[in-house]
């Protein structure tokens, strides 16, 4: 019994890494620009379809799918910023919510119209199959996604804290007017932030597609977890999203195994709410 628990925890960590991977983009956008992007899950869904298209047309797995999806989604991110986000940011909160929600529906049903309702799938063992060692079974696809999650988190964190570009982005987040006075263009910084965030979702989607099913509504299924992960981790904190994701993954798996799957959401959200009650800024958010 005790050894199966190790498998459960390992599974939880891998699942959590996946949650962290597709939440990293959201925390960047939410923390930096105070925009709640309801279309976030659907960006991930687009990344999944991009990887599928690359596979169908060229027979290439993640090696081709990931760069393509990342660049495609980054481009979409820039377009969305200039076409929609820049304007709704000037409006009230309701405009932002409805705007991104409308975008989510537009993306979801365009994909529905183009690809149909069928569940699509990349071949089962496109990334190596399952690794078995020390009595554990770890899907190579999930392990890859987990490692990439760590790298992406590290990369984004270094970008924000150690580079000039990162400092400029944070400056715009803190005070757009002051940043403008310092010669930083808020428009460009925010567009870059959207491009990076969307690129991260494309990367996440392309990797997740190697082991999850692909369907237009998958954004809905995964999206809500992204919001919980970002809130728990702290808005704007990329390392926070990683820790929160891992935590949620492990708690979800453990409670699903020990208590029963139908109760795991109660445990996760119960702990989530109690934690926020004590520390509203999340694990690593700044004290407001």
């Amino acid at each position: 019994m005790s050894f199966v628990i190790v498998q459960v925890i390992v599974g939880g960590l891998l699942l959590g890494a996946v949650y962290a991977l597709f939440s990293s983009g959201l925390t960047l956008v939410w923390g930096m620009m105070n925009i709640v992007n309801f279309a976030h899950g659907d960006f991930v869904m687009l990344g999944m379809y991009a990887a599928f298209v690359v596979f169908t047309l060229f027979g290439v797995g993640p090696l081709g799918g990931v760069p393509f999806a990342t660049l495609l989604l980054a481009a979409i991110g820039v377009v969305v910023y200039f076409a929609l986000i820049r304007d709704i940011m000037k409006g009230p909160m309701l405009a932002q919510i409805l705007g991104t929600f409308g975008l989510a529906l537009l993306l979801r049903y365009s994909v529905f119209w183009w690809f149909g309702a069928d569940f699509l799938s990349l071949p089962q063992n496109i990334v190596g199959g399952t690794l078995a060692f020390w009595g554990l079974r770890i899907e190579a696809a999930r392990l890859l996604a987990g490692i990439v999650a760590l790298l992406v988190t590290l990369g984004l964190h270094l970008l924000l804290t150690r580079t000039a570009l990162g400092s400029r982005m944070l400056a715009v987040a803190e005070d757009p007017t002051a940043a403008q006075l310092m010669g930083i263009r808020p428009d460009s910084m925010q567009a870059i932030a959207w491009a990076i965030a969307a690129g991260a979702t494309g990367l996440a989607g392309a990797l997740i597609a190697t082991f999850f099913y692909i369907v237009p509504t998958v954004g809905e299924t995964l999206g809500i977890v992204a919001f919980v992960t970002v809130s728990l981790g702290g808005f704007g904190s990329v390392p926070g999203a990683l820790v929160a994701g891992l935590l949620i993954g492990v708690i979800e798996q453990l409670s699903g195994y020990l208590i029963g799957a139908v109760y795991k959401d109660i445990v996760v959200y119960g702990l989530f709410l109690s934690f926020l009650w004590f520390r509203p800024q999340g694990l690593m958010g700044k004290n407001s």
Partner: protein, 417 residues
Amino acid sequence: MKFGHLLRLACAATVAAALAGTAQADDKVVKIGAIFPMTGNAASAGIHAKYAIEVALDIINNAHPELADLPLAKNAGLAGLGGAKVEVVFADNQGSPATGQNQALRLITEEKVVALVGAYQSGITLTASAIAEKYGIPFLTPESVAANLTERGFKWFFRTTPIATDFVGVYYDFLMGMKAQGAKVDTVALVHDNTEYGTSVAGTLAAGFKEKGLTILDIGYVSNATDVQSQVLQLKEKKPDVVLMISYTSDAILFAKTMQAQDYKPPLLLADDAGYSDPSFLKAVGKLSQGAFNRSAWSVGPPGSPSAIIADMYKKKSGDEMDDTAGRDMQGFFVLVDAIDRAGSTEPAKIQAALKATDLKPSQLMMGYKGVKFDEKGQNILASAVIIQLQDDGATYLTVWPKTNAVKPPALPYKGW
């Protein structure tokens, strides 16, 4: 304002013409409402239901002498209503019981349909049919199997498909048949989601099996799961003899993938239709689920037989082979329209009476039921099913049980991949 006056006159004239036009159309068209999931995770099933009904409409509205035994196929349109054509208004339930209910209301009050068919998910059939009951409009479900749908004392609700209480008998007889061949079938794990469908079918099967002396292991999960590793690990640990899957498509796919990742093959895997019949499931993970058993009332006969002709028509329209669920949708729709034809009227009370008097013989059906006859609860007491098995190509199901219907003997143990 002379122009304004002229414009108003023109509008009034157009409206009058349109209304007159509609009034004329009313005599020649019978409108039926169909509520199915066209979006959401069960959309694949809903869209295949739409194809099935469209094929049925082709058969009803046009003359098909080659299907002469099926009522309504010989003539074009409904003979009982002077050749009137049938028109279906499809509504999307979006996978939500509340939306299904609203759509039922809209179809009845605005589209003025004379009957309703749907809604795939038992939880949505529950709410949508409650509206139909309130307005006195017949509601026929061709495929929702939750037992309680016919336990509400409704007068306007009818169901053609076999249901969970029927499956207790079908599954138990099948398992005993496998036991006679040497398989161990004492512990049955019921893997089910937490919707109306999963909960009620699991409950009915558990009660029925326990009564017959089997041990039950209940593995519930939340539908539209992001991950099912814990459940598969529980199964791996507890080692049940039989795993009975009661899942919609998205979760069925996740379970198939996770079982392969965790290298778990139950000795016998039996699926309660739903996800496992969806062509999407077969395309995505059929190759990982070889040897899975399933229930069905659909089988294709020899070339030239009605079922073969219909299978062909369906394949042309949808691009996929007919599956059991789409077949049940088509059959239910035929039964409903046949009742309207026999009623000779679109008055709800007359249709209700005609439905109650339904007595179709097996030769008049395209599904393998023993007939269609409704009891006082609205349930078809002649509904039945056989057991089919997914072949090694991961794409074809063949009937394997009972022996009288079997095309091939059942293969054990479960092959998987």
